[in-house]
Amino acid sequence: MIEVRGVTKRFGARCAVDRLDLEVRSGELFAFLGPNGAGKTTTIKMICGLLSPSSGVVRIGGNEATSQAARQLLGYVPDQPYLYDKLTGREFLRFVVEMYGLEPGRASRRILELIDVFEMRDYIDELCESYSQGMKQRVVFASALVHDPKILVVDEPLVGLDPRSARIVKDLFVQQARSGCAVLMSTHLLAIAEELADRVGIVDHGRMLASGTVDQLRSELKHHGPLEDLFLSLTGDHRPPMSSVEGQGPIDLAGRPQPAGTPL
């Protein structure tokens, strides 16, 4: 569904994304991992058609990323979501369903359903300017899901959500994927990636360092610790060449293997 082939994005002299390949099939939940500044948001913006790649192709369900068809298929939750201050949450959702041309009866049922799911009934008719960060986040999630997207792209989904809403969102992701949606989420929470994702991809400096199921990565890199250690050893400063990563237990923050038993 999402197809990224050899995509490079340069900002002036800086190469934010470097010949990146990525594929997310329908029914699959893909977690996009990487340190700050690795190029995750840039990649996601190219998938949503907000940035055009310097070279390479991005296809959404076989459509060009900037085409109307691609945008109809896509639900997007950006890292800094936008809500109209002077709309109520309900009006915002109604705007979105109308924009996507949902048939009115179904649309209002869907809106009510999502208001219930995200437990927004208490404040949905107040202006968005009075919402807290997590309340805004829930409205944005609802708006990304309300038109039944075939592809869901989420940048840092759980920032600002309380444990209960985080649980709801996580369940929704899995549910979406199981119902045939392609879900791409970027996150820093490795535990979430490990728990939810069918496949993970680790990027650094704009390049895909490794991708596959967590088990695949473990066996490929001969690394048997938690995902966190694997991530750190891949993206650390003094990263040993991939083939020579030895699964010998903990490494320090700079990526140097530590003798077992030393505290980090």
Binding site: F11, K86, L87, E91, Y100, K150
Partner: protein, 583 residues
């Protein structure tokens, strides 16, 4: 959603009728307007009435001005009437230029720099729809000012000319078409700039504004130097000659003025003809803009977004050290705050380029004073011009403080979690801003005014007096902007230009104008009377040397008091509000 899977595995969502997204955007606008009006009405009534009163006073003032001058000139004189056509063409031409720039800038920001734009781009609305939505808002905002300026002129003209009611109606139609032409051209320019110069947009803007101002200054100078006595036949012919370029039949402003003047004479066929010409072009210009948006919006957005500067910035630390040593009298945290503001100022070309352009033009004009022949005029004339130059400098400074200093505290409010935790008292933050503003303002204005005085050959006493006035003006304008900025902050907005044109910013500009007016008249009047007295010693109003000393001392004391009040009072109000403020 029923999906069609094409042969190549392409997934085609059901077709989305264009009317669907248009309707969604229409509903969006309606909800936004309704909710905004509701919250304005339920908000501060005082603020609303003040805004309405200010607008009404402004409108009536302009109307009175125009009406008075029309009555005075006497429209029925055929020759004067001819001049009117030229003046109207000129007026609408300058409005055309202003609307072009303001709509262009607003559209540029809305399309390429707003988060709303980014959001709408991810919805399935086509780019020309999104453009139409954003463009309507920009045009509405910028034509509002035009309406406020143009309608008193037209009403005054219509009344003195005894125009039929149809004149006022057709004026509205003309206004819409005219605004649409200027706005569409501005939007086209905005899209071109985003696509061609994504990195140099501010430079392009500054350069073109400077170019236009230069042309305007040139034209003003040519008009000013028209030979012959004012209002004589020769002089009028000369003025017509110099304004002839605005009469070219290719200017939309010319269609506007010709059509409106025809309407005022109830010449409906001619007026209708020009209205058709104007609206046909408006439609064409809008169509061109929408087509460009359809093809180039995405591309331009991506280019603009991808061109934020990633330059490393370091160095300048010797400057910091020097600054700390020079201003050791200030408390260190205040010095640090000032340094931070200086650094932001240096890195924001929008600020200093504006500063440079306006003050550069002024300096250019002052340097040319000898060539304009002012220096050989009578002393009273030179004195008048020197005060005029000082006022212009102060006026420009006031626009600068309103545009850049006033929003500082509102912007700081957004980051208050940093400042609020610093080991300083809140009022020190305000004093820091004040010192920063005075420091930035003082240097160029003192230089400019001394330059103007030197070029006019003023005496040392006058130079000293003007230097002192400039210092008072700088302190006062800074005090007003910092104080009111703290009293009437806008913590929601992150765009300083929007903060500056809001209620607080406008009030700040008005107060600044009153302040300048008070200081300048207090001192200019005795000086002018004194110099007139030198030329016409027999006149009743003439001041002797002794009387002049006496009155000047009084005037100086009064202006010092005004200056002190104008500086300290707003600052105190600001400090009080700032200490109570919650972020």
């Amino acid at each position: 959603m029923s999906l069609v899977i094409g042969e190549s595995g392409r997934i085609e969502p059901p077709p989305l009728p264009a009317e669907q997204t248009a309707r969604a955007l229409r509903h969006l606008r309606w909800w936004l307007m309704r909710n905004t009006v509701r919250s304005v009405l339920s908000g501060s009534r005082l603020r609303l009435t003040m805004i309405l009163c200010c607008s009404a006073v402004f409108w009536l003032g302009l109307f009175g001005l125009f009406w008075g001058s029309f009555e005075f000139i006497g429209i029925n004189d055929a020759l004067v009437n001819g001049i009117f056509e030229y003046l109207f063409s000129m007026f609408f031409l300058s409005i055309l230029v202003m609307l072009f720039f303001s709509t262009g800038i607003l559209t540029y920001t809305a399309l390429f720099h707003s988060r709303e734009g980014a959001f709408l781009l991810t919805t399935p609305a086509t780019t020309d729809r999104i453009f139409a939505y954003q463009f309507t808002e920009s045009v509405g905002l910028s034509s509002w000012a035009f309406f406020l300026l143009g309608s008193p002129l037209m009403v005054a003209y219509g009344l003195t000319n005894g125009a039929a009611p149809g004149f006022y109606l057709i004026f509205l139609a003309y206004l819409v078409a005219f605004v649409l032409i200027a706005g569409s051209l501005g939007a086209i320019a905005a899209i071109v700039v985003a696509n061609v110069f994504p990195r140099r947009q501010k430079l392009v803007l500054s350069a073109s504004v400077a170019g236009i101002l230069g042309l305007g200054a040139l034209l003003g100078w040519r008009l000013w130097s028209t030979p012959g006595d004012a209002l004589s036949t020769d002089w009028l012919a000369g003025v017509q000659d110099r304004l002839a370029f605005a009469q070219s039949p290719l200017w939309p402003s010319r269609w506007m003025s010709a059509g409106l003047l025809a309407a005022s004479r109830s010449d409906w066929s001619r007026s209708g003809y020009y209205l058709v010409v104007l609206s046909a072009h408006a439609g064409l210009a809008y169509l061109a803009a929408a087509a460009m948006a359809r093809d180039l919006y995405f591309r331009g957005y991506s280019r603009v977004q991808g061109n934020r500067s990633a330059r490393r910035r370091q160095g300048g630390y010797w400057f910091d050290a020097l600054f700390h040593r020079t201003f050791f009298v200030l408390p260190r945290p205040v010095r640090l705050l000032i340094l931070k503001d200086l650094r932001s100022f240096r890195r924001d070309p929008a600020q200093w380029s504006q500063f440079l352009i306006f003050f550069g033009l002024l300096a250019f004009y002052f340097l040319n004073i000898p060539r304009l022949g002012y220096a050989v005029q009578s002393p009273s004339w030179r004195n008048l011009v020197s005060f005029l130059n000082l006022s212009v400098t102060a006026l420009i400074l006031s626009t600068f403080t309103s545009r850049f200093i006033f929003p500082l505290l509102s912007l700081e409010g957004r980051n208050f979690w940093v400042l609020g935790l610093f080991p300083l008292r809140r009022e020190q933050i305000l004093w820091g801003k004040f010192v920063f503003s005075v420091g930035i303002a003082l240097l160029p204005t003192e230089l400019l005014v001394s330059l103007s005085d030197a070029m006019l050959g003023m005496g040392p006493l006058m130079i000293a007096l003007h230097a002192a006035m400039v210092a008072v003006l700088c302190a006062g304008l800074s005090g007003i902007s910092v104080g009111l900025g703290a009293r009437l902050p806008n913590l929601r907005e992150s765009d300083p230009s929007k903060i500056a044109v809001g209620f607080g910013g406008t009030l700040n500009l008005l107060v600044s104008l009153v302040f300048i007016f008070a200081i300048v008249t207090a001192l200019a009047v005795p000086c002018h009377l004194y110099y007139l007295g030198i030329e016409h010693p027999e006149a009743q109003y003439a001041l002797t040397h002794g009387a002049f000393r006496f009155w000047l001392t009084i005037a100086f004391a009064v202006s010092l008091v005004i200056g002190l009040v104008g500086t300290v009072l707003p600052l105190r109000i600001g400090i009080k509000a700032f200490q109570r403020m919650e972020f």
